[in-house]
């Protein structure tokens, strides 16, 4: 038996024959007494851009962070690349990854971009970009450098390759962080509110880079407050409310003809 809430998700899956890159099923996450996610399901097929929207405290960042186990889900199923993340209970009754190697392997296929950039401050931009390819994926240094130069050029930072992150603007740091994520040739890009920490005039340059990635068919899961942007680039929008998927669908439907009263109000308040 399918829960009634699963019906829209199934319809959405049927539209697309591509392989499923991320599959989340009935995910629960509790922080102590606080029940942040109350059974969320999500699916991203190759080439899809999933935008997760919702108010503060709706659990959208937690959902994203559960996908690569930066937060350990309390219960539920997460499959990345068709591989289910093995979880077990530790001695305190918390759910933790059962196989560290598996988590590391899965993480190295997911390019995460953080709200606060989180570039490594003791490395120049080029060092930041080649760090994971060279030390985690075992790419030859020269090959990684050539690739990193291309990526930095692509995000418009070629001339900043030997500069340390602290000397750059937030927009430049975030673009470098996107280059770092692209360098691992990720199966899926995960964006956790990538423009929320930026000055308004710097948001555009970062959204342009993300938009270009979306248009070239990269699979992405994007937590964002930029509704206009979500409407432009997303193939599927998920509205979270209070730890549950309140409504989901193609952007035209979510933004053009929302059914849920809460979503209508949310869009009115934000827009």
């Amino acid at each position: 038996m399918m829960a009634p809430g699963a019906a829209p998700a199934l319809k959405h899956l049927a539209q697309n024959g591509a392989a499923e890159a991320i599959h989340v099923e009935n995910l629960h996450k509790k922080f102590g007494e606080l029940h942040v996610l109350k059974g969320v399901s999500l699916s991203a097929r190759d080439g899809e851009v999933i935008a997760i929207i919702g108010g503060s405290g709706s659990g959208k960042s937690t959902l994203l962070r559960c996908i690569n186990c930066l937060e350990n889900p309390t219960s539920g199923i997460i499959r990345v690349n068709g591989e289910e993340i093995k979880l077990k209970a530790d001695s305190h009754g918390h759910t933790v990854p059962a196989d560290r190697k598996q988590i590391e392997r899965i993480r190295s296929k997911l390019g995460m971009v953080f709200q606060n950039f989180n570039l490594w401050s003791h490395m120049t931009l080029i060092e930041n970009v080649i760090e994971v390819p060279v030390h985690v994926l075992g790419v030859k240094r020269e090959v990684a450098i050539a690739e990193a130069e291309k990526l930095l050029t692509r995000v418009g930072l070629a001339e900043k390759r030997d500069v340390y992150p602290a000397y750059l603007s937030g927009g430049q740091q975030q673009r470098a962080a996107i280059a770092r994520a692209l360098a691992i040739n990720p199966r899926v890009m995960l964006f956790d509110e990538p423009t929320s920490a930026l000055d308004p005039e710097l948001v555009g340059e970062v959204l342009k880079v993300i938009g270009d990635l979306a248009r070239e068919g990269r699979t992405m899961v994007l937590v964002t407050h930029e509704m206009k942007f979500a409407r432009e680039v997303a193939t599927h929008v998920v509205y979270l409310y209070n730890g549950l998927v309140e409504e989901e669908g193609p952007p035209e439907q979510i933004f053009g003809a929302p059914k849920s009263e809460r979503l209508k109000q949310f869009i009115r308040n934000i827009g």
Binding site: M112, F114, N118, S121, E131, V136, I184
Partner: protein, 221 residues
């Protein structure tokens, strides 16, 4: 000169040993289970509470005795532990307690997002320590660790009480024989000062390198 050489050997050895203990201790205190954390708390508290002279006497005499008893019990011959090895072990053990706290503070000062990013990209704990945590904590740890190094160079003088031939004991013997106390002790003082000055130069270089990604405070003023 042999005295000075011994002093520097011990200080370097003790600092290196102290750093290793400190890194392990800081990691244990931050990420270890309750038992590990409690044991480390006892270690850092006791070592930092007891005067170093007492610790040196205790560890040197009791420590060598203990090792020999263990060896005897296992049917081996008693060994003479070299003063150098004993000195490094004892001072390193003391330094380790202080470095544990210095390094723990430095690791806490790293913006946690940088460690999270490393985890998010699939770094194993060992790689994360080597590539991210250690280099990122270094700028915060160097002032404290530099203090510890300078203290180590002078703590070597305490080893004179267990008869280890280092700078202070050499000075005392030379001064006793020649009766030129002022000359020899002033000379010894000057040598300690010289060691400190040279250390400052080297530490300055290391610190500039460790802080390479950080804008200087002067520019921010």
């Amino acid at each position: 000169m042999v005295g000075l050489l011994h002093t520097i050997e011990i200080a370097i050895g003790a600092t290196c040993l102290g750093l290793l203990i400190g890194i392990g201790g800081a990691y244990g205190k931050l990420y270890g289970g309750p038992v590990v954390r409690d044991l480390l708390a006892v270690y850092t508290t006791v070592v930092r509470a007891v005067p170093e002279l007492v610790l040196i006497l205790l560890l040197y005499y009791a420590g060598t005795d203990l090792i020999n008893q263990v060896l005897a019990a296992l049917g081996y011959q008693r060994i003479d532990i070299s003063g150098l090895a004993a000195g490094i072990a004892v001072l390193g053990f003391v330094q380790g307690a202080y470095s544990t706290e210095v390094i723990r503070g430095a690791i806490l000062a790293i913006p946690q997002g940088q460690i999270e990013a490393a985890r998010a990209y699939g770094m194993s704990p060992g790689l994360l320590l080597r590539r991210i945590t250690l280099p990122a904590m270094l700028p915060f740890a160097i002032p404290g660790l530099a203090n510890l190094w300078l203290i180590a160079t002078k703590d070597t003088a305490l080893l004179a009480v267990v008869g280890f031939y280092e700078l202070t004991l050499a000075t005392r013997q030379a001064a006793g024989v020649t009766k030129a106390y002022l000359t020899f002790y002033l000379a010894a003082g000057a040598i300690y000062l010289l060691v400190t000055l040279i250390s400052n130069l080297i530490i300055g270089r290391i610190e500039a390198r460790a802080r390479r990604g950080m804008p200087s405070l002067k520019e921010a003023r």
